[in-house]
Symmetry: C2
Subunit: 298 residues, 2 copies
Amino acid sequence: MTRQQLIDNIRRKQSFLCVGLDTDLRKVPAHLLNEDDPIFAFNRAIIDATAPYTIAYKPNLAFYECYGLKGWQAFERTVSYIRENYPDQFIIADAKRGDIGNTSAMYARCFFEDIDVDALTVAPYMGEDSVTPFLQYPGKWVILLALTSNKGSHDFQLTEDAQGERLFEKVLRKSQQWVEGGQSSNGEIVKSSNGEIVKSSNGEIVKSSNKMMYVVGATQGELFRDIRKVAPNHFLLVPGVGAQGGSLEDVCRWGMTPDCGLIVNSSRGIIYADSTERFAEVAAAKARELQQQMALQL
Amino acid sequence: MTRQQLIDNIRRKQSFLCVGLDTDLRKVPAHLLNEDDPIFAFNRAIIDATAPYTIAYKPNLAFYECYGLKGWQAFERTVSYIRENYPDQFIIADAKRGDIGNTSAMYARCFFEDIDVDALTVAPYMGEDSVTPFLQYPGKWVILLALTSNKGSHDFQLTEDAQGERLFEKVLRKSQQWVEGGQSSNGEIVKSSNGEIVKSSNGEIVKSSNKMMYVVGATQGELFRDIRKVAPNHFLLVPGVGAQGGSLEDVCRWGMTPDCGLIVNSSRGIIYADSTERFAEVAAAKARELQQQMALQL
């Protein structure tokens, strides 16, 4: 999916809501456990109910891996189901992968060729050559961790270097230079008119905001302003609205751009809002509530 | 496996060699592709041939995930095979996982309960609450990324803060305080006689060097001295000897401790040393070469 297609979907549906499919068999309604594939049955019901209100889905691999083969099968089925029935949905595999170059290339092949999701969350700790293999797929997105939603974000991400630049700012700044647009891999780094760092080679502009997004937790509040100073135009994946306590209004106030620029995720607040046979219709109601709040912000 | 058991295995076998099972069907000998489960067939042959010379095996999940269900199956079979036939081998799942607390807990359950490996590589970027769920399993180890073997390690890991402490040093230092030993979770932080940071509560010493190891790339050379200043006693997982160009001698000179304290990994240099039907016996020869060099260092 291109950036423009994503923006068009957001405008058309008046929503930037992503539902996190963190499916845990200890929490799903009991009647589903009789199904052959309870994980997929749960996901399908949630997707069918919420799709009118969402523009993205985000299965987190931890919740599938822990069920071994059956889990991996349910994950693949879920992605196929969305592709076949809701082709305008942006599918994010939340896996936080990253390794040395040739190994990252294997992960990239898995998620971008075999399973064919739109985007993959990637961890930045190992630096450029651990991330660039994921950037080799036209139409596919890397969502790099920047400032995460959890308390532990304070351990390293806010550490200032001798010049006062915090680690998350360094991640945002440096990573924009890693984007290769095919032939423009060794282009000159320039700033575009809106302050975004781009590469220019032979006059061709390569924008990392067409390839790369960043994870910024909703709980980070005013720090969104600092994010926007370094990444004025990039889409941000924003978890933590709902169960983790982040405020949608604050996120929009400090993080929204003319193109929206936000994908806000809610998982437990929607998918586990009800644990009876009404779970899907309650999930739909919760999703609609959030979508209506989002429509006011757009 | 306890630290003492690992040390005993190293002394008995005069080896601290780990073979990385980065099994790629595009590289394995062609005759194996006729097998029902070529990945497992390759792994089994490599394990049988090299086990006399190794004390650990390290499958990297990227190489299994990319084969979907069949890959996950081969990974599980490989771990079971080692457990059943070579119970003194230390099994490391190289997955570099890490997420918010409840999600890390799912990953931990998967790898430490369902699949039952001895150790898991974990990424530190998201801080304490993303790592502590992995520390809740007696006898299981967390191997935290510290200073990795790849070129991108220079992007963030060497960044100095205003006091001159580099990010990898901060990871080493802070993480030692995260280790909980059951009841000693809120103990006082003290230094033991060899400089190691430990927790003491009601007189009970909890050593992170019994729960935690760190990844330090063989390519990092003299930086091992700086690692040892902050982590004098911890085991280090050392990839990058072989294909990535690291030197075993340098690693031992600057990284070895009285308890050895090193697990040195080689993957491509052993498992792809030969691509004919002799692949396993050549792998054995390469492993034996490395083990003999290691015996001289111990």
